[in-house]
């Protein structure tokens, strides 16, 4: 630590060069922050502690194929199942087809399985007692400036009402919040009563899109899932039951291989970065050979010269990396504030910083290694005489 001043002043010996290099490092880590936030959003989807005891039962054929509601009582009777609820996909949009919604018609005990939504007893009562009642996620409500008590006209894209109208007017009776910042995207949904859907829809009523089952013990999940699927084996509505995690992971993987795309870009970025900072460090050490020789003359050991050079390159990466990641943090929160939490980007949090710091140190050591070895091995006499 006592050499920090020395490392700092050698680093900024050639101001322009160091600053240019730092700008390149900033760009690389800014990109790292942004891409890592996107990758994290896809990788994290569904990793929800509260969801550990939830299973999703859908048609074996595909999520789009509905199941009979008669399954409810039979799933309820499976040993190990605590509560069962069901939901139907509704979709639709608000005002403009660009504002596509995540809307589901849910049975009245749906929110019992989602305690993390933090709905009050009063809100739940209002939801049960209002036929056209609806509950929206906080960020969705914020996006369209909805307040509890508002009437919200939703345009159906799949289900017209009996009589042919595409407009479903819902009464907002509650707003839910998701505390975990990594799961804020779940605040983007709108739920309304399945009973209303069942009675008012021209078609599609009388069925359940999927069931959500809460198991008493998460360790029983596999056994319970098999037991549920056995109920409908060889019928015309065979089911597939899986954990919430597995369900979401399978769904997300259908969009694209995000990991591969992000990985390839980051590979290209950091390969370039290593070359670039490596070149800067090599130049810096080459220029300073006589100085390093003097350090050795006045008693610095080989090892301390080695660590001085390594410290310099790690410091170079750390300054640029910290600035770049800080900028990416600001940028990500700006983008999320502007476009809403449904954008697949996680806030740049502790885990991202940890990964970034590890990268800074690793790259710093890699690019510093060759110049540092050169500094360590130089012979004082040769170096001082400029040979």
């Amino acid at each position: 630590m006592k050499y920090l001043h020395l490392v700092w002043s050698t680093l900024f010996r050639r101001k322009t060069r160091t600053i240019f290099t730092i700008v390149s490092v900033i760009a690389a880590f800014l990109l790292f922050g942004l891409l890592d936030s996107v990758r994290g959003a896809f990788a994290n989807a569904g990793h929800n502690v509260a969801g550990a005891n939830r299973l999703i039962t859908m048609s074996k054929q595909s999520l789009v194929v509905a199941l009979p509601t008669s399954l409810l009582m039979r799933i309820q009777a499976v040993p190990g199942v605590k509560t069962v609820t069901y939901a139907n996909w509704f979709g639709g949009y608000y005002q403009d087809p660009k504002n596509q919604l995540v809307t589901e018609a849910v049975s009245n005990n749906y929110f019992d399985l989602f305690p993390e939504f933090g709905l009050s007893a009063a809100e739940l009562r209002a939801f049960h007692s209002t036929r056209t009642g609806a509950i929206a996620g906080a960020s969705l409500a914020e996006r369209f400036h909805w307040k509890v008590g508002d009437k919200i006209p939703i345009q159906a894209t799949i289900f017209p009402q009996k009589g042919g109208s595409n407009t479903w007017t819902l009464d907002l009776v509650g707003i839910y919040h998701v505390a975990d910042p990594n799961l804020k995207a779940e605040e983007g949904a709108l739920f309304f009563n399945w009973d209303y859907f069942d009675q008012a829809a021209q078609f599609g009523g009388g069925t359940a899109g999927w069931y959500i089952d809460r198991v008493a013990q998460p360790k029983d999940a596999d056994r319970v899932a098999h037991a549920i699927d056995a109920l409908s084996a060889n019928s015309d509505h065979e089911t597939k039951t899986q954990s919430e995690d597995a369900f979401t992971a399978a769904f997300v993987s259908q969009f694209a291989d995000i990991g591969l795309i992000v990985g390839s870009i980051m590979g290209a970025v950091f390969f370039t970065l290593i070359l670039l900072t490596g070149n800067t460090m090599a130049q810096a050490v080459r220029e300073r050979i006589p100085e390093l020789a003097i350090l050795k003359t006045i008693g610095f050991s080989n090892r301390s010269v080695l660590s001085l050079v390594l410290a310099e390159s790690v410091l170079l990466l750390a300054i640029g990396g910290a600035v770049g990641l800080a900028i990416s943090g600001i940028a990500v929160s700006g983008i999320r504030a502007k476009l809403g939490p449904q954008i697949p980007m996680l806030p740049v949090g502790g885990a991202a910083w940890l990964r970034a710091v590890a990268l800074m140190i690793a790259i710093g050591l890699v690019v510093g290694a060759l110049p540092a070895r050169r500094g360590m091995q130089l012979r004082i006499v040769d170096a001082l005489s400029g040979r």
């Binding site: 322009t16 060069r17 240019f20 290099t21 700008v23 390149s24 490092v25 900033i26 760009a27 690389a28 800014l30 990109l31 942004l34 891409l35 074996k60 054929q61 595909s62 999520l63 789009v64 194929v65 979709g91 087809p97 345009q155 159906a156 894209t157 799949i158 017209p160 042919g164 595409n166 078609f203 019928s235 015309d236 509505h237 065979e238 399978a250 993987s253 259908q254 969009f255 694209a256 291989d257 390839s264 870009i265 290209a268 970025v269 390969f271 370039t272 970065l273 070359l275 670039l276 490596g278 070149n279 800067t280 090599a282 130049q283």
Partner: protein, 436 residues
């Protein structure tokens, strides 16, 4: 103060040059290059610049590390840019080529996609019998009421279940889609549980080989053919509409009707005829419109993403190039000062440093574009499309994309070279000669 003014002017010149590069077509760059070569060979100053450049290039092997920073940095920018834009272009082209102006698709009013649409038998019959719809030699309308359902099949790449679109065709489907070719096997037989599989679906999903059985609606279906339509339909499984409807208990209900119009200009009349019929509420659009709309969102997202990533990488590469070229100028200070003392003017020095940077940038651009082309041209990817099922598409690295990539490379080279070049030219000769 004076140097700040100089930097500002340089910056403006650089910005102007980059803007010109972005706007002008590629051949104007070729004209500029030709003029430059003529100047280099014909005039005295040009020949001076040429000889300074030759010295600069001949010393390149001694600063291979520094030069490679420029080349690799720019190659990275161009490679990533070209690859991401090729993805957007491939997806857009696949969807856009699916549609044309002669055929129209009719969906229930309010539905943006087929899977969200539904209509009953009477509606599909009425739509098919509109007078604007072309008829075949037997007098039957060239129209296909179609059913779209989604099945789950494991993907070959990941083994995970993914959604695959199953399309139940009506009687007129073959006359509608004349571009469809059978690659193997035969067409499905109406009424039987037989499927033909698009060539991309076949390469993407398990259990889709000729003769294999696929479970649809709880019943085994046999794959009897493989087809190629060179568009989005290649990601689908096709079967007889009535047979699929009975497997999924859809009765006579269908999702959409696609018709061939007697003339593309009749679309408005067709729409008006549909709108005036009180029995149903439906909307018609040309299939070109319909499929173009579906590609918009994803294409735009990828383009924004690709450009953002490339801009940030370009900033990194630019400062790398600046560093390298400043260092190159610094190591040649004495040489440049000597040339100036001998009577070389500043112009040739500026030009030579610029040419050197642009050559490095061009090399980087070509390497990056070549790598992107080699890896990603015809690279197959898939994503979840509008019908909630996988759309398989190929990346397309078009010549326009490659030229755009090279433009980015030259722009970075131009800005990265201009500042060091001017520094070299403005170096006081006496200081330069004294430099150790």
């Amino acid at each position: 103060m004076k140097s700040f003014g100089w930097s500002l002017v340089t910056l403006l010149v650089a910005a102007l040059a980059v803007a010109l590069l972005a706007v002008l077509p590629w051949w104007s760059a070729a004209i500029v290059a030709a003029l430059l070569v003529a100047w280099l060979l014909a005039t005295r100053a040009g020949r001076q610049a040429l000889s300074v450049t030759q010295v600069g290039i001949s010393t390149m092997p001694q600063r291979l590390g520094a030069a490679s920073v420029v080349v690799v940095g720019i190659a990275g920018v161009v490679g990533v840019l070209v690859a991401l834009l090729a993805m957007a272009q491939g997806f857009q082209a696949t969807l856009q080529e699916t549609g044309n102006d002669d055929t129209a698709i009719v969906l229930r009013s309010g539905s943006q996609t087929e899977i969200n649409s539904a209509m009953d038998h009477d509606t599909t019959v009425a739509i098919s019998n509109e007078p604007q719809v072309m008829r075949d030699a037997q007098g039957r309308p060239i129209a296909s009421p179609e059913l779209v359902v989604v099945a789950s099949l494991p993907k070959k790449s990941s083994g995970l279940d993914a959604n695959v679109e199953v399309r139940g065709l009506g009687q007129g489907a073959w006359a509608l889609r004349t571009n469809v070719r059978l690659l193997a096997g035969r067409r499905f037989t109406p009424g039987l549980r037989e499927l033909i599989v698009g060539k991309r679906a076949m390469s993407e999903f398990e259990h889709t080989e000729l003769g294999s059985k696929i479970d649809l609606g709880g019943q085994p279906w046999t794959v009897v053919g493989e087809f190629d339509s060179a568009d989005e339909h290649d990601s689908e499984l096709w079967g007889d509409g009535d047979a699929i409807a009975s497997a999924y208990r859809r009765g006579e209900g269908r999702n959409s009707v696609t018709v061939r119009l007697k003339d593309p200009h009749l679309l408005d009349a067709f729409k008006a005829a549909l709108a005036s019929d009180p029995r149903f509420k439906v909307d018609a659009s040309t299939t070109r419109d319909y499929y173009s709309r579906q590609s918009e969102l994803l294409t735009r997202t990828i383009r924004i993403l690709g450009t953002t990533v490339a801009v940030i990488m370009a900033i990194g590469a630019l400062f790398g190039a600046l560093n390298t070229m400043y260092a190159a100028v610094a190591t040649r200070t004495r040489e440049i000062a000597t040339l100036r003392a001998m009577g070389f003017r500043g112009g040739p020095v500026v030009v030579s440093v610029l040419i050197e940077t642009l050559l490095l940038a061009l090399a980087g651009g070509i390497i990056g574009a070549a790598i992107a082309w080699a890896i990603f041209d015809h690279y197959t990817a898939s994503t979840l499309g509008a019908n909630f099922s996988q759309v398989v598409f190929e990346f397309r690295v078009s010549p326009t994309l490659l030229v755009n990539g090279l433009k980015w490379a030259l722009a970075i080279g131009l800005v990265g070279g201009l500042f060091p070049a001017l520094r070299a030219a403005r170096l006081p000769v006496t200081d330069g000669l004294r430099e150790l």
